[in-house]
Every structure is written in C-alpha cells, then in structure tokens.
C-alpha cells in the first residue's frame, strides 16, 4: 500500500512537469503560426448546369436549380437544393407535362481526407425533398382491341395542387478549381415517402424526383458550379 502511494505521488509530479512542458511548447507554436493548417468555413452557393444543358438538347425540359451548402464541422456540411422544373413526358400511349418547384434539405459528410489545406470533397449525404406541382395530360390513346383502330382519350386534362415528399441518398464530388470556385457532380437515389396523386391518373414524374418508377424509387444527376463565400477560418 505504501509503495503504491509513493508511485502515485511520483506519477502526479511527472504529470505536472509534462503539462507545464506542453504549455511551453504551445508558446513556441504561436511564433510559427503559419504551419498550422486552417480550413475555410463559409457559405457555398451555386447553380446546377445539368438542367440548362439538357434544356438545350431536349426542348421538353426546362428548369433551374440552385445549390448551397454551409460547413458546420471539419467533415460535415448542411446542404440544400432549390429548383423549378417543367418537363413533358412523351410515351406511346400518353403525353403529359409536369410543372412545379421543389426544395431539398439535408447534410453531407466529406469522406475524403484532404492533404494540406486543400478543400476538395468526396461526400455522401442525405436529403429530405418536397415538391408542389401540377400535371397536364396533353393527349393519349386508349388501350383497346386492335380491330377498332386508335381512339384518343379525353384531353387535355389538368390536375393541380399535387405534392410529394421523399428522401434521398447522395454521393458526390466537389473539386476546387481555383480560388473558392468549385465544380461538382453528384448522383442520388430517391425513395418516395408520400404523394398526393391526381384522380384517375398517377404522378409518373415529379420535379426534383424525376421519373417515378413502379416501386416508388427514382434517381438523379447533378452537375454544379459553385462559389464558396469564405466567412472564417478554423484550424484543421
């Protein structure tokens, strides 16, 4: 018992020394401040280029999406997208136009360990998405016996006041091109939570969700250019 007490006192004294030693080291560091790597924290805002480019090729689609994210930790970002989309889907038996707006909010986790003070991201994230939209059934052909020939459905029909809620998993890359300017690409897998369906029709396309598959899943791409507005710096 006595021996243990002495060892304890010894341990305590040593710890005092080492602690004091640390303080000295810290003071030394202050004079070589520029070797501490700092990360930029701020608001990054940008725009999606996928929709405008797609709109030039395919005149059935037009829309705009703004993206933003805000760093809240070394690896964590709060992120969101806001957009508007008008899309016409042309199928064998149906032709309809979907028009509406959407918002997605969530968080991204940068799984990439940057060297030095580089600020690139390879991230995974999640989003909660919400959209309000309307559907217009432009034209269609009845599915009937071939002997009758083609007969059109009652059209146009408009369905307004529709909405949808969904969740997404996102995987993406953001690379800093040069001072605070980022180029990004992401892929998302979506799953519908709830949707207000039209009467005697179905939400086959939802802005922000894109094509709704039979099992209520969907996917999307995003190609963005954004600028980081730096607010403060923090040690890495």
């Amino acid at each position: 018992m006595l021996i243990m007490k002495r060892q304890l006192i010894l341990l305590f004294l040593i710890s005092l020394f080492t602690f004091k030693g640390d303080l000295l080291l810290a003071q030394q560091d202050a004079s070589v401040n520029d070797t501490i790597i700092k990360n930029k924290y701020g608001l990054r805002v940008g725009v999606d280029l996928f929709n405008p480019i797609a709109a030039m090729i395919d005149d059935q689609r037009s829309g705009l999406e703004l993206v933003a994210d805000y760093r809240i930790g070394r690896k964590w970002f709060v992120a969101g997208e806001l957009g508007y989309l008008e899309n016409t889907t042309d199928l064998d038996n149906l032709n309809f136009t979907t028009e509406g707006q959407y918002i997605k909010v969530g968080a991204d986790y940068n799984a990439y360990e940057n060297w030095l003070d580089m600020e690139n991201l390879i991230y995974v994230g999640a989003r909660y998405g919400f959209s309000t939209f309307s559907q217009t059934l432009n034209s269609g052909i009845l599915s009937t016996d071939a002997i009758f020939g083609e007969q059109a459905i009652t059209a146009p029909q408009e369905f307004t006041g529709l909405n949808a809620h969904w969740i997404e998993l996102v995987v993406g890359i953001k690379a800093e091109l040069f001072n605070n300017l980022y180029l990004g690409f992401s892929f998302s897998g979506k799953r519908m939570i709830t949707t207000k369906e039209p009467d005697n029709f179905r939400n086959l396309f939802v802005p922000g969700f894109n094509r709704v598959f039979l099992n209520n899943s969907g996917f999307g791409f995003n190609y963005t250019i954004s600028y980081l507005i730096p607010l403060y710096k923090k040690a890495k």
Partner: protein, 156 residues
C-alpha cells in the same frame, strides 16, 4: 473509408432498383363475355358452334365464335353496340337474332405503359327471339370491367 464508400454505392443502387414498367402487360379494355345456357335446363351450359357475329354499323369483319362462353369486343366509339347473331341450328335451319347492348363508357387509368383503357358500366340489353330463348345480365347492375367471369347469359 473505402469500405464505407462501397457500402454506400451498393445502398444507393439498391435504393434505386428500377422496375421495367415500359411494357403493357396489365389488363386493357375488357371484352364482353357471353355464357350460353340450355333453355330447358338453365343450370347447365349449352354450347353453340360457329356462331356468326356481325357488329352492326361498323366496317369490322364477321366474327365466328364457338363454345359455351364467347368473347365479343364492345364498340369503343359508341355507347351502343348492336350485334347480329346468326346461329346454324341444323343443315336447313339458320336463324338470326339482333342483340342491342347499351352502356356508359368510362376511361380508366392503368399505368405508364398501357395508359388508359375503357370500362363499360351499367350494361343493359335487348334481344329478338328467333333462336334466343332468354337473355340476361349476370349482375344487377352489370359492369364490364374485367374478363374474370361472364357478363351475360343467353339461353337457347
């Protein structure tokens, strides 16, 4: 970190397991099903053979049907279908009856691939009686929205 990434990509792909809903394999516009019964014993079926069916007021060729249950398409461009049914009872005896069917056409959405189909509600009928003893709908009211069971019975 690499393992975490692979897991997430797998998760994402599993999430977006997309189904082929591009081919129309669901049920479309149903045809009318007529079941033929024996006039002397309306519990048992009595088949017809080589019944010649003409859908009146259309350019459609004569249909030939045999059996105790037959399928006939209803007109999609009108709320009335008039059928002339010519039955060869024996080598000398050929009789024709006219069957008039009245209904309400309703467009019903099926899915992405098939689009819309027609269903026929509140079917009512009238017939002449040269070889047909009796004709009735199976249900009251009668809708033609599937091909699971007969919609009309004709006893002869």
């Amino acid at each position: 970190m690499k393992r975490f990434f692979i897991l997430l990509i797998v998760l994402l792909l599993a999430f977006s397991a997309c189904e082929r809903d591009d081919i129309c394999i669901d049920e479309t516009t149903p045809e009318l099903i007529i079941k033929f019964l024996d006039a002397t014993d309306t519990e048992s079926a009595k088949a017809i053979s080589n019944l010649k069916i003409k859908i009146l007021d259309t350019e459609i060729d004569t249909l030939i049907r045999s059996g105790d249950s037959i399928f006939i398409p209803l007109r999609i461009d009108s709320d009335i279908t008039q059928l002339s049914l010519t039955n060869q009872i024996d080598s000398q005896d050929i009789r024709t009856d006219t069957l008039s069917l009245s209904y309400e056409r309703v467009e019903s959405f099926v899915g992405r691939a098939c689009g819309f189909r027609l269903i026929f509600n509140n079917l009512t009928l009238q017939s002449t009686s040269n070889w047909i003893q009796n004709s009735n709908t199976v249900n009251e009211p009668q809708n033609v929205d599937n091909e699971a069971a007969a919609h009309l019975t004709i006893s002869h």
